[in-house]
């Protein structure tokens, strides 16, 4: 009995740790890319899909083709956060940057388009990203969410 409980907790802890690592790595990558973008190059669609470009050189400045992040639900067991670059290719040129992602939401206040953003100043050049991950470990669900705000460095 004691060993069973310990084993279950060990598995749940391991599962949660895995989720945290996935989410943190994905968030870190997104933040580092998005930080380099500029406001006029960012588009958020439906709060769940973001497109932007980043500088590839600054003397003179040239920008990359569009980069996009979004979640694809293949099944309950396969929900992945994808990075697509260049955006719009057919078939999509994309890689999964995290597994077990239930949702990603992007919020950006830009002028009047600020409906879903709480506590973000309209002109502060901030993008808020929220990642929610979850999975089932031995019939128990574990979840983890992480929110970060990024200030775009290129105005």
């Amino acid at each position: 009995m004691v060993l069973n409980i310990a084993d279950l907790n060990w598995s749940l802890g391991g599962g949660l740790l895995g989720l945290q690592q996935q989410v943190r790595q994905a968030m870190d990558g997104m933040v580092r890319e998005l930080r380099q973008s500029r406001s006029s190059n960012v588009t958020i669609t439906g709060g769940t899909d973001i497109q932007f470009s980043i500088p590839t050189d600054i003397t003179p400045v040239t920008y990359s083709e569009l980069i996009s992040y979004y979640v694809v639900y293949v099944s309950d067991e396969q929900k992945q956060l994808f990075r697509e670059h260049p955006m719009g290719s057919d078939p999509p040129d994309r890689v999964a940057v995290a597994n077990d992602i239930n949702s990603v939401t992007f919020c950006w206040c830009h002028g009047a388009t600020c409906a879903t953003c709480d506590n973000i100043n309209g002109g502060s050049n901030l993008v808020r990203i929220q990642l929610v991950a979850g999975k089932t470990v031995r019939q128990k669900s574990v979840s983890f969410s992480l929110t970060e705000k990024v200030r775009l460095r290129n105005e």
Binding site: G29, Q36, S39, V61, G123, N154
Partner: protein, 339 residues
């Protein structure tokens, strides 16, 4: 059958298995520890490099004729755990620089540091009276211009560095796509604050005292209206006169709705939204500078006023050094190798 010695062999096997398991566990622990340290140091190095960029910005603002070089201003930070160093090279004498900032862990010369993050930035300074065509437009923005409907009137040039939507606009406007506008040239906001305070037109977050209603303070001298915070004239039947500066170095927005208007020019590093809806003669009579783009909705009337713009230009205002482009040189999905 002689079974003597089996226990010894089994013991050896068990010890071997436990040793392998222990070694694997130890190896993984060390590996995880190194990954965590690598991540931590990489993040620290980034913020050190950011500090270096800010140092260079302030040094250039103090003296934009500084001698370029490598390894400038080595500064120890993070309680002696790291440092930044900055390389500055001149692109255009006195007006444009390439700044490369190195954030380094530990606090040793960056060439021999264990972890390093590098940020590149171009910094520019407009020369008074301002960039080319800065004072010639009804709208001037490095961002996007979005226009809704067809009831608007814009008299004068619309100069932008982003996009215009729809393209072409429903009602013809003199729209000019200008690739030279990457960021909005920054005035010396301390100078403008002081001028505004001297005229009694300085507005803190409470927006007191009342705004002037005429562009002219006296003959040939415009009112300089400095507003700390958003400039929101929505729902007001109010005409504000003067050269209105919104937020200074901070990004605040302008919102003009209905019969409200500005008899003069507006400058903001944020966005400017104008939604005309009444029967006002104008919503803006002068011009708009907006760093983050302009939105026009409804029966908005925006007019370029050369008399007002010439008066502002004749003030010979000082421009300051600003970051024009910013780039993290490291791939976003790689960490800096740690020895």
């Amino acid at each position: 059958m002689n079974n003597r010695g089996v226990a010894l062999i089994l013991s050896f096997i068990l010890i071997a298995v436990l040793t392998v398991l222990g070694a694997a566990s130890l190896s993984r622990s060390i590996s995880e520890s190194r990954i965590a340290r690598r991540y931590s140091e990489s993040t620290q190095a980034l913020w050190l490099a950011e500090a270096g960029i800010n140092r260079a910005l302030n040094e250039l603002r103090d003296n934009y004729n500084i001698t370029p070089g490598s390894g400038l201003w080595p500064t120890t930070m993070l309680e002696d755990a790291g440092r930044y160093e900055v390389d500055v090279s001149v692109i255009d004498v006195g007006t444009k620089w390439l700044v490369t900032s190195h954030g380094c862990i530990p606090d040793v010369t960056c060439n021999s540091s264990r972890t390093q993050r590098i940020i590149e930035a171009t910094m520019t300074k407009a020369v008074s009276p301002g960039p080319a065509n800065f004072f010639n437009n009804a709208i001037y923005t490095p961002g996007n211009v979005n226009i809704s409907g067809s009831a608007y009137t814009v008299t004068g040039d619309v100069r932008y560095g982003g996009t215009i939507t729809p393209d072409p606009p429903v009602n013809p406007v003199d729209n000019i796509y200008d690739t030279s506008i990457t960021t909005l040239a920054r005035f010396d906001f301390d100078q403008l604050r002081a001028m505004s305070q001297g005229q009694g037109n300085y507005h803190d977050a409470t927006h007191n005292p009342p705004f002037p209603t005429s562009f002219w303070k006296s003959i040939g001298v415009p009112n300089i209206v400095f507003v700390e915070g958003d400039f929101d004239l929505s729902g007001k039947k109010e005409i504000v006169g003067g050269f209105v500066i919104v937020g200074g170095d901070l990004l605040y927005d302008v919102d003009i709705t209905g019969n409200a208007g500005v008899d003069g020019a507006i400058y903001t590093l944020g966005t400017c939204s104008v939604k005309g809806g009444g029967n006002a003669l104008f919503n803006v009579n002068g011009g708009i500078w907006a760093g983050q783009g302009v939105t026009i909705t409804g029966s908005t009337v925006i007019e370029y006023n050369s008399d007002y713009m010439n008066a502002i230009q004749d003030l010979n205002l000082i421009f300051t050094v600003q970051i024009n482009n910013w780039k993290d040189t490291q791939n976003s999905y790689e960490l800096v190798p740690v020895n």
